[in-house]
Subunit: 323 residues, 2 copies
């Protein structure tokens, strides 16, 4: 019997790591997850992850054959197979991810950042199937981006293209600390965490009542704020408006760099739809040069939030096999 080939796509997020077994058509035959934050040592994390993957593969049965592993991770470097100085992960400095992974398997392991993986996923399975020039912005714990130019993912000279989450919105004018050690980075405003921080700032300045005043910072998340905004909570709505505005500013910059056909928003924050898309679109258009105005689509990712990065990561493994 011929075994069905699958690629394992792994998405290492700030909170959880998700993996899936994906066939060449993009069908997910099995999935699993493991906490990212519970492992201080990368070796222990990878060992635990690999064990989970093996157990999950056994559950699917004997008729699959793994051809390789694609890993999306913050600050993942495709040239070196490393994670380097990822602010949102427990492991500091330069982490030799593919080397550690290859202690468990001889199969190919390819690493890139989760946003690049999501961009490949959008191109292979999602809304960018027929597009040659587009950008995916991932809005999770932080903000990532993947640029596709002329049908190919942009890696850059050091393998680190697309880290726009760490560009300043208004250089030198913000007091908001970023996990990267600097101040005022885009992701301190535009991400699930950024939304919470903006909410607290507005709550501090305003005397308006809000159902969210009963929540601690730790209890709050994008979904709670989204639900409150839908019920008409003024402070929640203002937090989304400000977040969308900041995103819109930066999207105008993004367009001026590579002039994409579309920008896809992906991740938890993008699920708030109009609350984030409306101000983002309005301020993007406001700050766009006239030659770009009205031409760039701002779209929600067509991949489900959990599967996109896994699909993207897995498609990297497929592309490696075909080389």
């Amino acid at each position: 019997m011929v075994k069905k080939e699958v690629a394992v796509g792994i998405d290492i997020g700030g909170t959880n790591t998700v993996f899936g077994f994906v066939d060449i058509k993009g069908n997910i035959l099995g999935k699993g997850r493991i906490s990212t934050t519970h492992y201080d040592e990368i070796e222990v994390f990878i060992a635990a992850l690999y064990e989970k993957i093996v157990i999950a593969s056994q559950k699917i049965g004997n008729d699959i054959e793994v051809i390789g592993f694609g890993i999306g991770a913050p600050m993942g470097n495709i040239n070196k197979g490393t994670i380097e100085h990822a602010a949102g992960l427990p492991w500091k400095g330069i982490v030799p991810l593919s080397d550690v992974f290859n202690r468990h398997t001889n199969l190919p392991v390819i690493v890139t950042n989760d946003a690049n993986a999501a961009a490949v996923g959008e191109m292979v399975y999602g809304g960018a199937k027929k597009m040659k020039n587009f950008v995916v912005i991932t809005l999770g714990t932080g903000l990532g981006s993947g640029f596709v130019v002329d049908g190919k993912l942009v890696y850059g000279n050091d393998g680190f293209a697309g880290e726009i989450g760490h560009t300043a919105i208004r250089p030198g004018t913000s007091n908001r600390d970023c996990g990267c050690g600097r101040k005022g980075c885009l992701e301190t405003y535009v991400s699930a965490t950024g939304l919470k921080r903006t909410l607290l700032k507005i709550m501090a300045d305003s005397i308006e009542p809000s159902e969210l005043r009963k929540y601690s910072f730790e209890e709050l998340d994008a979904e709670i704020i989204h639900e409150a905004a839908k019920r008409g909570d003024h402070i929640a709505k203002k937090a989304f408006l400000h977040t969308g505005m900041m995103l819109g500013f930066k999207l105008a910059d993004v367009v001026a760099h590579t002039n994409p056909e579309a920008i896809f928003l992906f991740g938890g924050l993008a699920l708030a739809r109009d609350l984030i898309f409306k101000p983002a679109k309005e301020y993007m258009e406001k700050y766009l040069l006239n030659i770009y105005k009205g031409k760039v689509k701002l779209l929600p990712s067509e991949l489900s939030t959990h599967n996109a990065a896994v699909l993207g990561a897995s498609s990297l493994a497929w592309s490696l096999k075909e080389l």
Copy 2:
């Protein structure tokens, strides 16, 4: 006798239009120029330009054969052969440049913006010969940029990638009008004109003496300010420092988008060398994410200011012939 093939490279600048006859090796066999600002009608301008080109070609002699025309112009669109809404040129709206040009010749005419042309010139003849990922920033009357990713010029979906001169440095906080109709665009600070504007601002705020207080705005240019700064004029030095700082802010953003190996500065302002490179490098490094720090070269263009855009434009015509 076999005639020597040449491509005509044309650089349409805000003030002057320069052209040259370039062989396949990049030798310039003849050059000419015409004022850009003296022609309100594009048809009259092109007719005058074409006549100048014909006369110049006759001076070179009968042993050359023109194979095509490459034109670099602000807001030049390679997909459509147009100039669209170029703030710094006398012709408004969408100008069908290649169509008008083709009333005079049946040879191929290819149009792109002057910064893209300069980037191709840097790649073919200059300091980027061995580079796959780099950016050229042109600092003239305005600010243009050309992005090369994986050895290919980035055009974008609408043919307008790289218009970073019209991104805002600090959105919503600047009163400085831009020719594009908005406020606070990068080129209102970082360009020969931007330097002059910053100088006047500093002169207005300061009571320090300066040899430049005797010049009118119209009399001033980047070279006069450069000479004054070299003689130790405080206000001239401050104007360069501020200009370099603003450039550095934006270069950090540029790096985060496409992670280039190098950024080349091209044009009159770049000739001031340390006065512009030192603060630009310092602030770029300050605003770079740690994974990029110390890795991106900031270099002067290796092409002479006048020839780079002509060479770049001409190389577009050669590439067209080879297709």
